[in-house]
């Protein structure tokens, strides 16, 4: 791991969370954190879970865990207490690392500045296999899937990035806007920057001005990595200040609105590249110069096919811990659940959208079935349907006589991460159903039924 991620001159600035951190300092902080993890009960081949916002502490802890040979599970710090507790029950890590309490901070910060809290968990289990990275993904049914990747798998993904001439190189800068606990921000942003020798910069503020300030703060060739929302945000700035160091923006995590790539190029004079990837596999296909949009070229070593309209990708081993449903992975192929078309002449792929109940809110994946099931269990809710309509998750529910839509939504918000909470919850005396009695899931029909009713929560 040292060769892959920590090598380089002591004085090389490699991370910037407000202030710069050079490689010598990073190596020292990582070594110190290793001692702290060990003291908390991390054994060789042990397990640690991180529930931390983007921060220098997060990077230090992740690298320290790996340097100890541990399996590190990354939990989104925005999960609710109940969601985090369920994840910890399932994973049984030996050590939990969290952000400590902070004084009330400014809104829309790009990173967290908090003391780190390391807690030993007696009864935590050592790692069962070679996997070094564990991530949870919302499943369309039942509990989250546990996605596991080995060190070799991560090294192969870093090699894929290193082969992309348009990805940041040594001497460059990466302004990272994507979540660092999800695969594209983690591997494409953080780990690639450390591997390639580019400086990773987190903006002080995640507003349009804040992002441009971070870009303009350095003279070295700068690549911004974010989600399509960020590109939309920057494109909407009518007269941005000059950004001479900006060479490219790369977005991933959801589909890009058709007009945005060209508008971005006109605004900033540089390409808006796109990537497609999955937690199970990392980066899968790219269009980094924005010339093939919406088509993407498969990344080195990936084999893609479309079966019955669904994109399948070669993956020899089961990417999940435990048993896996055959409609997720079978016979060495991962079933992406994305609809796609592959051009037989060029091999390029166009991803058309999800074939299941997963939606993306600002690049964060939300499974509508999971949220719907949680809402159905909320006291006062007798039946409900969730749809993704006009850019937002919307809930329609039958409530008992004593529960208001505001109360139902509030009870739901206490159980799930904020980004999963429906924008609107409308109470209907009876949800529309088909002739056979099934709940109708048409956004139009639900909207029409809702418009006749009282205001929403």
């Amino acid at each position: 791991m040292d060769d892959l991620l920590l090598a380089g001159p002591d004085t090389d600035d490699c991370l910037r969370f407000g202030t710069p951190t050079d490689r010598g300092t990073l190596r020292r902080l990582v070594a110190e954190r290793q001692l702290r993890l060990r003291a908390a009960g991390l054994t060789p081949d042990g397990t640690a879970a991180l529930s931390m916002g983007p921060s220098l502490e997060f990077v230090v802890t992740l690298l320290a865990g790996w340097r100890e040979g541990a399996q590190v599970a990354l939990l989104d710090h925005r999960l609710s207490a109940a969601e985090t507790a369920a994840a910890l029950d399932r994973l049984a890590p030996q050590v939990l690392v969290e952000d400590g309490p902070t004084p009330p901070g400014a809104a829309l910060r790009g990173y967290v500045e908090a003391p780190v809290v390391v807690t030993g968990r007696p009864g935590g289990r050592p790692a069962a296999g070679e996997h070094r990275l564990i991530q949870l993904s919302s499943g369309s049914t039942g509990p989250s899937k546990v996605i596991a990747r080995t060190g070799a798998d991560l090294a192969a993904e870093l090699d894929r990035y290193a082969r992309m001439p348009d990805f940041p190189r040594r001497g460059g800068r990466v302004v990272l806007l994507s979540s660092m606990v999800h695969v594209l921000g983690l591997v494409g942003g953080l780990l690639h920057a450390l591997h390639a020798g580019a400086e990773l910069v987190l903006p002080d503020r995640l507003t349009g001005d804040g992002i441009l300030d971070a870009v303009r703060a350095g003279e070295r060739p700068t690549t911004v990595i974010g989600v399509p929302f960020h590109a939309q945000l920057l494109t909407a700035i009518a007269q941005p200040p000059p950004t001479p160091s900006l060479v490219r923006m790369i977005v991933a995590g959801e589909l890009v609105r058709p007009a945005v790539p060209q508008a971005f190029r006109e605004r900033y004079g540089v390409p808006l590249g796109t990537m497609y990837g999955m937690t199970e596999l990392g980066v899968i296909a790219t269009d980094l110069d924005g010339t093939a949009h919406p088509a993407l070229t498969p990344a080195h070593g990936h084999e893609l096919i479309v079966r019955d309209g669904e994109l399948h990708i070669r993956r020899p081993d089961n990417p999940y811990l435990g048993t896996v449903a055959a409609d997720r992975w079978s016979d060495g192929w991962l079933h992406t659940r994305d609809a796609a078309e592959i051009d037989p002449d060029t091999g390029r792929v166009v991803v058309l959208g999800r074939r299941d109940s997963q939606v993306s809110v600002g690049g964060l994946k939300v499974d509508l079935n999971e949220v719907e099931q949680t809402l159905r269990e909320v006291p006062g809710v007798t039946e409900c349907v969730l749809v993704f309509d006009n850019g937002a998750i919307r809930a329609y529910a039958e409530l008992d006589a004593t529960t208001s839509p505001q109360e139902a939504r509030g009870r739901l918000a206490a159980r799930i991460a904020g980004y999963k909470v429906p924008r609107t919850l409308r109470a209907l005396p009876r949800l529309p159903r088909t002739n056979t009695g099934k709940l109708l899931r048409s956004a139009e029909a639900l909207r029409a039924a809702g418009e006749q009713m009282a205001p929403s929560a």
Partner: protein
């Protein structure tokens, strides 16, 4: 006379409508976190200010009216919403 456009419900709905090129009638009364980030960026651009708010103040913005009240309080008097507007 100020050159700053007034910051009222119509202004907020207009800024939110630009997110995704929507018709103003398609803008919800409720504001999601992405829309809020969008709105803050628009306010900073249009009114030339930096929106500096504690996290809990922004977390309390759930609706268009909340946004008019909370963000409007940061603006120069010429643009801020009048009492009861």
């Amino acid at each position: 006379m100020s050159l700053l456009p007034p910051f009222d419900r119509a202004a907020v709905i207009g800024m939110l409508a630009a997110f995704g090129d929507r018709d103003p009638s398609a803008v919800d009364e409720e504001i999601g976190s992405l829309e809020l980030t969008w709105l803050v960026t628009e306010v900073e651009q249009r009114y030339g200010i930096t929106v500096e708010l504690p996290e809990d103040a922004l977390d309390a913005v759930w609706t268009v009216d909340d946004a008019v009240r909370v963000l409007g309080a940061l603006l120069p008097a010429a643009a801020a919403p009048a009492e009861g507007r």
